[in-house]
Point group: C2
Chain length 397, copies 2
């Protein structure tokens, strides 16, 4: 079996997270991804966070299965070599602040002439046009401006961000989908195209349900902790060994009865304040009080088993160690290993694809800086050993 | 211009959010999506949340541009009609609890024989196999079990969920990518395939950075409010009219100098406790105290302008109303309208695609229940008016 986009070659000048997360997914789907990095320094992500050997753990994870060449895009020489590479690739990915690739003379208008079949993807914080286009962005900035921070956390506490860089990674997944969609269309049209993905736009798409509530009621939604604005019981509860969640989103009398029966609180089933979902939402504080007293009496795993037996959606709130040890995730190979030059192997989170007829997943280790210079500059572009040595000398590669 | 996957036909028996969010994206990319709904009741999402006319606002948003037919998959008659539809479609999407489609006799093994080119997508909470496969799931359950709740919120407060249903919607985006990747591969192979996407798996993929930190240090990451575990200042601050975020992830002396200069706190620049990023993280509490006193003196828009001028990533924490009015998002058409039978039009969040050569975005209103029965049962399958009337009578459609 091969990956679904096996044979696709990607020239990737993106750095840090949004672009590299996108090309991680495309590499896991079978593409050959060639990172273009600054000579000497490389992708800044190589040095951010806990190090494992020469590179950060995060770099190793996001850049698995990719190749690395070095090229100084600030130099005319580097730009010329880049232009010579372009005809050999199907996709170009960049995530500089808008305008940077034009400054290099490598914007879509210039590059398109060299390869009309090229799919050229730009990811940026706010998009390529509009009043904020040229502002720098980071995950937390788009989480703040896209609205997710305004609905996350406790009602009276200071704002909190979702604890992972969703601003980058969600944009990376949408961008990967845009690339593969363009490759699909290219089969008929024979032509590539330009794709402009904004991290902030992607945040807004994910918030559609919150916008729906706002547009229909005019009420501005706020943070609700772990609870659901329209359902109860639907939140975190404390067991005697930690937290778990219960998620009842139903008006079915029988399910509410099963719930009360399973936790041995028939009194709640008979209580007219809790007779249907709307009543339970209306009398949430009283309901929470009763349930808290019951749930503190057993462990969260006992409760999850008791409630699962009557088919109420529920689960423990797992910390990262518990997630890494979860039998379901182990069964699904969601924590997997890649080769590593110092440790022998290194553990990473897998991509979530399971195809019956296609191979997916990490294809190899992350590359050392410039590890594949010879492969591309010599084999692909036909540069001589002397030329390569001279380019190295000048700091162009 | 046409959508990149124009001409693709999707038979969609999914309900609520994960599947419908996936097919919303595929419809926005140009596919023809036909919802198959229970006669009389339809997708339960039609009735969840604030209503706008006959359907909920959320249903209208997620199901824009789709068609609707009714079919009772519990009845043999309904199953037979479903089998007759299958050869006319490229993709099938379902998100029942695993085993349900097999119970209907409509699992991949059975259906594949009718259409070997069919891409058959299953989305579920935990995947099609493994010890938890048959448990029901909801967004909050996979947020809990996937680890994001363990790193979101304030350190000493009860756990909070990310305030939108990322468990569903992130799975929907990955699933859409898996479908288009399979369609791409199908052009060469001529064959479809089975795709198994788990909401929990998708959560784990998004957590890759958190796993990297855990695997490299052995420390179990906890919630950090709005702050960053490895950078400072990188968090929310209170201005005199609300909160804004600052995101400095650098060791560049000059940038730190620019920051202090811009906020007129040269004393902090000279303070040896804050001389580089590591020192600022180490002395975070002191730094936060000084900055809080400065930032409370002006409005968040003043601070955003001051800091943007020296190219420090920053932005206001917007509530949903502010997001809906954001000039950048208006410029990017991220809040757009679809036709609506009661209101004339209805506002929805757009998808984040911008292609130079492809058309994308909402293609029309959400369908009334069974609105397209005639189109598919009569035109496509050739059923007579009498046959359709009789099926209606029996509650099969």
């Amino acid at each position: 079996m091969i990956g679904p986009i096996d044979g696709i070659r990607i020239l990737d000048v993106s750095r840090i997270l949004s672009g590299p997360f996108c090309t991680m997914i495309l590499a896991d789907l079978g593409a050959e991804v060639v990172k273009v990095e600054m000579p000497g320094r490389g992708d800044p992500a190589r040095n951010v966070g806990p190090m494992v050997g020469h590179d950060s753990a995060s770099f190793i994870s996001v850049n698995r299965g990719k190749k690395s060449i070095t090229l100084d895009l600030n130099s005319e020489n580097g730009q010329n070599i880049f232009r010579k590479l372009v005809p050999h690739f199907d996709v170009l990915v960049e995530n500089f602040v808008p305008g940077t690739m034009a400054k290099f003379g490598l914007d879509y208008q210039s590059i398109q002439k060299l390869n009309s079949a090229l799919v050229y993807l730009s990811i940026s914080g706010f998009g390529q046009d509009g009043p904020d286009a040229h502002r720098p962005a980071m995950d937390i900035v788009v989480q703040a401006m896209g609205g997710i921070m305004s609905v996350t956390g406790e009602p009276e506490s200071p704002p909190v961000r979702a604890g992972v860089s969703l601003g980058d990674s969600v944009a990376g997944v949408f961008a990967a989908l845009a690339v593969v969609s363009s490759l699909y269309q290219r089969i008929d049209s024979g032509r590539g195209q330009y794709i402009d993905i904004s991290m902030l736009d992607c945040q807004v798409t994910m918030m559609e349900n919150v916008f729906s509530r706002y547009f229909s009621t005019g009420n501005v939604p706020g943070p609700t902790g772990s609870s659901h604005p329209l359902a109860a019981p639907f939140q975190a509860f404390k067991a005697n060994d930690g937290y778990f969640v219960v998620a009842m989103l139903t008006d079915d009398q029988e399910i509410w009865g099963n719930f009360c029966n399973a936790i041995e609180r028939e009194d709640l089933h008979k209580d007219s304040r809790f007779v249907d979902n709307a009543s339970r939402v209306g009398n949430l504080e009283a309901l929470q009080g009763y349930l808290a007293k019951t749930f503190i009496k057993k462990s969260r795993f006992e409760w999850v088993e008791i409630l699962s037996n009557v088919r109420i959606p529920c689960g423990p709130i797992n910390d990262i160690q518990a997630v890494a040890r979860d039998p379901q995730l182990i069964h699904r190979s969601m924590l997997t290993t890649i080769p590593h030059n110092v440790n022998g192997e290194w553990k990473v989170a897998n991509t979530p694809f399971n195809f019956s007829e296609s191979l997916t997943g990490p294809a190899g280790p992350s590359p050392a800086l410039g590890e594949h210079n010879r492969e591309f500059f010599s084999s692909l572009l036909g540069l001589s050993n002397e030329e390569i040595a001279s380019l190295l000398d000048m700091g162009v590669i």
